[in-house]
């Protein structure tokens, strides 16, 4: 073992990294539980990469074969049903974990100096995750996905001026068609993976470099009492706890796939009328529901803008958060309040949408 290590060390500069990991610690305080969510999101991402690669061996990205290939995976490939269901469930759980990770970072102010670039890379990864979800959803080419994509891409048309061009670009044409499918496939398996790999690598490296951020309130208490925070060694204490959480998540994925298998539904018919009750996946529902409450036109502009503009402004503010927050107790309180309001609004909209859908 030692000889192997020496052999590798002579050829690759791994000793530095091994030492860094061995000395890495995680501060322990009453908010430490939230440190696990980043790794959890990463775990679900790994699951997506592996199951996605497996699905790629059988999937065919054309309007005439996509649905049949997914049906083939689900019915004729051994454990194909499991791989596909896990891929679908893990996507949802990854987004849920990403939300938890994002909100915990906001509420615990981990975006403060010197972690601004870490934050930027993370926000971009967050947006890319949604793009993964949106593009991947269409790939089975079933009825629900087809119409959800049509509705979703329609929303981009509300942007004044360039809206139509944006929709045209997204759809690969005027309407959602086989061209859209091919385009979304390329985005989902090549373009987004390349982008997210680069950004994730930067994100993870920066986290190792800066260490774990301690929330301002804990830091203040520390200064008052003078005692340093207990530091949990990453190896083995934190890592084994991470492993525990990941194993629970794995069991959850398997259970969901066996008891709530992801359905395939009917093949998309581009000439058919939209069935009642079409709606996007839960992570888009809050926007979808908010749009429903808007009037068709307001002062000559599309009513949809009443939702799209605040959302876009919010997304921009989120991205630039470290630069907008001067990091005073008052500003941090404002950030927490705004974040709390946003969370409450999104949750309410989602719940309303779900209630409407089930009635």
């Amino acid at each position: 073992m030692m000889r192997l290590q020496a052999w590798l060390e002579e050829r690759m500069p791994i000793a530095r990294f091994v030492e860094a990991v061995r000395h890495k610690t995680v501060p322990q305080h009453r908010f430490s539980l939230w440190y696990f969510f980043g790794g959890m999101t990463l775990f679900f991402f790994f699951v997506q990469v592996v199951t996605g690669a497996l699905l790629l061996l059988y999937y065919r990205p054309s309007a005439s074969e996509a649905y049949e290939s997914v049906a083939f995976v689900m019915t004729r490939v051994p454990f194909g049903w499991l791989v596909r269901s896990i891929h679908a469930w893990s996507a949802n759980l990854m987004i849920a974990a990403a939300f938890a990770h994002l909100f915990s970072v906001v509420f615990l102010h981990a975006y403060r100096r010197p972690r601004e670039v870490t934050w930027l890379s993370g926000v971009l990864v967050f947006f890319i995750t949604f793009a993964f979800g949106f593009s991947g959803y269409l790939l089975p080419w079933n009825e629900l996905a087809f119409f959800a994509t049509r509705v979703g891409t329609d929303m981009a048309g509300a942007v004044p001026g360039i809206g139509e061009a944006v929709v045209h670009f997204m759809r690969g044409g005027k309407d959602v068609s086989g061209a859209t499918l091919t385009r979304f496939f390329g985005v989902h398996v090549a373009i987004l993976p390349a982008l997210i790999t680069a950004l994730l690598a930067a994100h993870l490296l920066l986290i190792q470099h800066h260490g774990m951020s301690v929330p301002p309130s804990i830091e203040a208490a520390q200064r008052k009492h003078g005692r340093p925070l207990p530091a949990m060694p990453f190896i083995p204490h934190f890592a084994l706890r991470d492993l525990f959480g990941w194993t629970v998540a794995l069991a959850l994925l398997a259970g969901l796939s066996a008891y709530f298998p992801w359905e395939l539904g009917k093949k998309a018919d581009i000439f058919a009328a939209a069935p009642a009750g079409i709606r996007p996946e839960w992570y888009f529902l809050w926007m979808f529901q908010a749009l429903k409450y808007m009037p068709a036109t307001v002062f000559g502009m599309s009513g949809e803008l009443l939702v799209l503009v605040p959302v876009s402004v919010g997304a921009l503010a989120l991205t630039l958060l470290p630069f907008l927050d001067p990091d005073t107790p008052r500003s941090r309180r404002i950030v927490k309040t705004l974040a709390g309001l946003a969370l409450a609004l999104m949750t309410t909209m989602t719940v309303l949408a779900l209630l409407e859908g089930s009635s």
């Binding site: 019915t75 530091a231 084994l240």
Partner: protein
């Protein structure tokens, strides 16, 4: 000159007097407008060809009793017609003379149909042209112009409304909604030029043009001789002639509202066969329904059901054939077809149930994986607890 003119006037008067009400023709647009689209105009004919030369700028109108003989001048001339359409038949007039319309018209009754009433007078199109009043989907509407007119038909002693009845039938649905031109309309059974109500004994021959197997079975069954001796129309007794609705399994039985119960009850011979057929149909229908539902559920859950669907297709076809064998009016031929059908439906259902059971099997597999995972988690938990404590 004046004599010729006078003659024309007289002929005009005669023509007008013997012409039927204008609505007997097909009204809309002036004759010269309509004639532009006429197939005869395309063949090079003119107004003169039928009306003769105009006198004083007026063409004489043709008496209703003269119309058919006028048309047949060309349409019964094989050598003449061969110049324009070699395949066109030339016996329409001969047929017309055998028809009820033709016989009455020959005896001077002008309130019956003649050539122009159905084909039009001036804008005549070929039968294959969808706009022709005698194109198959439009035949019933054309016949209905007289045969659905209660006032007109009561003069001939007819109370019923066959075109309206036909309009409610499965044949009308097939022809008008599905566009199935193999479905019969008035002229299919009655003939077009030789239109006559088919006699009671010949109805079966007409129905059996398409419903071959039912007719074969019926002819070999005890019902044929029985119906003949009773003077009962064969197919019509159960299926009616114009308002033919989709037959239902519930027609078979010994109690109201089953059709058989009109003549049969427990005591009449054949009761056992009726009950056997009724039960067989019921079992088939229920079996197919159940299989369909299970397969649908399995498919919704993402299971493969192609084989099940194929077997169910077979069962469904046996059901169709079993319903055909009802016309043998005996239990044996029916059960020979129905019993395998029930078995096939059961097999389809079993495939569906097996697919659903596979779902259960997956959950058991999950249990195994969960045991391994829980074992690992417990051990890991213990390991974590036994790690050296963190120095503050």
């Amino acid at each position: 000159m004046t004599r010729g003119f006078g003659l024309c006037l007289i002929m005009l008067a005669v023509g007008l007097a013997t012409a039927g009400p204008s609505w007997a023709q097909i009204p809309s647009g002036t004759p010269s407008d309509l004639f532009r689209d006429d197939v005869h105009a395309q063949a090079g004919l003119t107004c003169d060809s039928c009306h003769g030369k105009a006198t004083g700028g007026e063409y004489r109108s043709i008496a209703r009793t003269e119309i058919a003989p006028l048309c047949s001048r060309c349409h019964s001339d094989a050598a003449y017609m061969r110049r324009f359409r070699p395949q066109l038949r030339v016996d329409q007039y001969a047929q017309y003379l055998t028809s009820t319309h033709g016989k009455r018209m020959s005896s001077g009754e002008t309130r019956v149909a003649t050539c122009s009433d159905c084909h039009g007078g001036h804008g005549i199109r070929p039968v294959q042209d969808a706009r022709s009043p005698v194109a198959p989907p439009r035949v019933a509407t054309t016949c209905a112009r007289c045969h659905s007119d209660a006032a007109r038909m009561s003069a001939f002693g007819h109370q019923d409304n066959p075109p309206a009845d036909w309009g409610k039938s499965v044949h009308a649905k097939a022809l008008l909604e599905r566009g199935d031109t193999s479905a019969p309309t008035c002229s299919t059974c009655h003939g077009s030029h030789g239109a006559v109500p088919p006699g009671v004994t010949s109805v079966a021959l007409i129905c059996s043009q398409c419903h071959v197997r039912e007719a074969e079975l019926f002819r070999k069954s005890p019902k044929k001789a029985l119906f003949e001796s009773l003077g009962q129309a064969e197919c019509l007794t159960c299926h009616s002639n114009h308002e033919i609705e989709a037959p239902a399994d519930s027609w078979i039985g010994l109690k109201d509202p089953a059709l058989c119960s009109t003549c049969h009850d427990d005591s009449v011979k054949g009761a056992a066969d009726i009950v056997a057929v009724q039960e067989g149909l019921q079992r088939l229908s229920v079996g197919i329904d159940r299989a369909q539902r299970v397969l649908d559920r399995a498919e919704q859950a993402g299971m493969l059901v192609d084989e099940g669907r194929l077997v169910l297709r077979d069962a469904h076809e046996r059901q169709i054939l079993a319903r055909v064998t009802v016309h043998a009016f005996a239990a044996k031929p029916f059960t020979e077809t129905a019993t395998p059908g029930v078995a096939e439906a059961a097999r389809a259902e079993a495939i569906g149930t097996g697919a659903l059971q596979e779902l259960q099997f997956r959950r058991k597999g999950l249990a195994v994986a969960t045991v391994l995972i829980v074992g690992f988690l417990v051990t890991l938990w213990v390991k974590i607890r036994r790690l050296p404590p963190i120095e503050p």
